[in-house]
Symmetry: C3
Subunit: 146 residues, 3 copies
C-alpha cells in the first residue's frame, strides 16, 4: 500500500528516531541529576525535609537543562511525524540520508550547545534542524499534490 | 499488511500533519520574536549584556505566546499518532476528511484565538479538536476489537 | 513493504497508544479543572475579573497536575514513535505484549502516583517505563544492523 517505500530509508528513519529518543531521555535524566545535585527538587515529596517547593524558584542549573529538554521536546516530535510521512510516501534513500542524518546531528549538537551556553552555534544548529523539516514538508506537499 | 489502508486518506493525513507541524514551528518562531522584541531572553547568553535571566519573570507577551505554543504541543502530537493509527487501520476517505480537516482547522484557529485572547472561541476550538480525537479513538477501538 | 509486520502487534500498539493519548487528555482536563477550582487561571481572559495572572504564581494544586502532565508529555511521545518503529520492523506478538502493556500500565500508574505524591512508586513506574523504551531501542538497533 506504500508503493514507493524504501526499506533502507525506513531503517535510517528508525535509527535516527531512536537516537533522538535517547537524546530526550538523556536530557530527562540530566534534569533529575541537576535537581538532586543542586537540592532543587521538582516536587515536595522529593525533598529530604518538608519544603515549600512550589514557590521556590528552581536552581539556575536546573533551569538550563530544563530549557534544553523543552527545546528538544518542541522539535524532535515534529521530525518523528514529518520524516515518517516523508519515508512512507517514497523518500529516496539519498534524500533520507541527507535529511535524517543532518537533522539528528543538528539536534544532538543543539542540546550540547544549549547545555554549555555556546552561541551562535546553538542558534545555527536550531536553524539547520528547522531547514531539514521545511525541506521535507515541501517534498511531501509536492508528492501529495502531483 | 495494512489491507484496508486508503492512500487518499494517508495523503490527507500527510498534509494535515505537515500543516500542524508548521503551526508549531510558527509558534516557536513567534516565541523567539517576542523574546527579542520585549528584551526578555530565554537564556543569559542571549541577552546583550549580562543579566540574571533565570530569576526575572518573562515579559507577558512572551508568556502568552509560550502558553499558546505549549497548548499546541500538548495536543498536536496526540493527533499525529491517533490519526496515523486510524488511517493505517482503514479509515474511510470520508471519515479522514471530516476528522483531519476539522482537527487541523480547530487547532490553527485555537492558536490564533489564544494569541489574541479571544474567548470563548479559544475554548470552543479546543473542544472541537478534542472531540475529533475522541471520535477517532472510539473508531480505533471498534476496529480493533471487532 | 513491511514483510515482518504482525497485525496483532499493530493492533496492540493501536490500543496502548490510544490509552496513553487518553492519559494525556485526562491530565489536560484535570489541569483545567484545578485552575477553575483554585481560581488560578492560566490566562488573564479566563479570570472572572481583571488580574495580573502573568506574575501570580500558580496554585500548588495546579503546579502538581501540570508537572504530572508535562512528565507524561515528555515520555509518552517517545513510546509512540519507538513502539511504532519496533512494530513495523517486525515485533513478535509476544514482545509487543510485554513491552506495550508494561509501558502503558507503568505510565498510567506514574500519573496516578505523581498526582497523589506517592514515592518511591512514582520513580519506580518511571524507571519501568524507561526500561521498556530502552529494550525496544536495543531490539530496533539489532534488527536494523543485522
Amino acid at each position: 500500500m506504500f508503493p514507493n517505500l524504501s526499506l533502507d530509508a525506513f531503517k535510517l528513519y528508525a535509527i535516527c528516531s531512536c537516537i533522538l529518543a535517547l537524546n530526550l531521555m538523556v536530557l530527562s535524566g540530566m534534569t533529575g541529576a541537576a535537581r538532586g545535585k543542586n537540592k532543587s527538587p521538582g516536587n515536595p515529596e522529593d525533598a529530604g525535609k518538608p519544603r515549600d517547593t512550589e514557590r521556590t524558584p528552581d536552581h539556575p542549573a536546573v533551569v538550563r537543562v530544563t530549557r534544553a529538554h523543552w527545546n528538544a521536546l518542541e522539535n524532535i516530535p515534529i521530525f518523528w511525524v514529518v520524516a515518517l510521512v516523508y519515508t512512507l510516501l517514497g523518500a529516496s534513500p539519498l534524500g533520507a540520508k541527507v535529511y535524517f542524518i543532518t537533522f539528528a546531528a543538528a539536534r544532538v549538537l543543539h542540546s550540547f550547545f544549549h547545555l554549555k551556553a555556546i552561541q551562535p552555534f546553538r542558534s545555527i544548529a536550531y536553524g539547520i534542524g528547522s531547514l531539514c523539516i521545511v525541506g521535507m514538508i515541501v517534498q511531501i506537499f509536492m508528492a501529495t499534490f502531483k
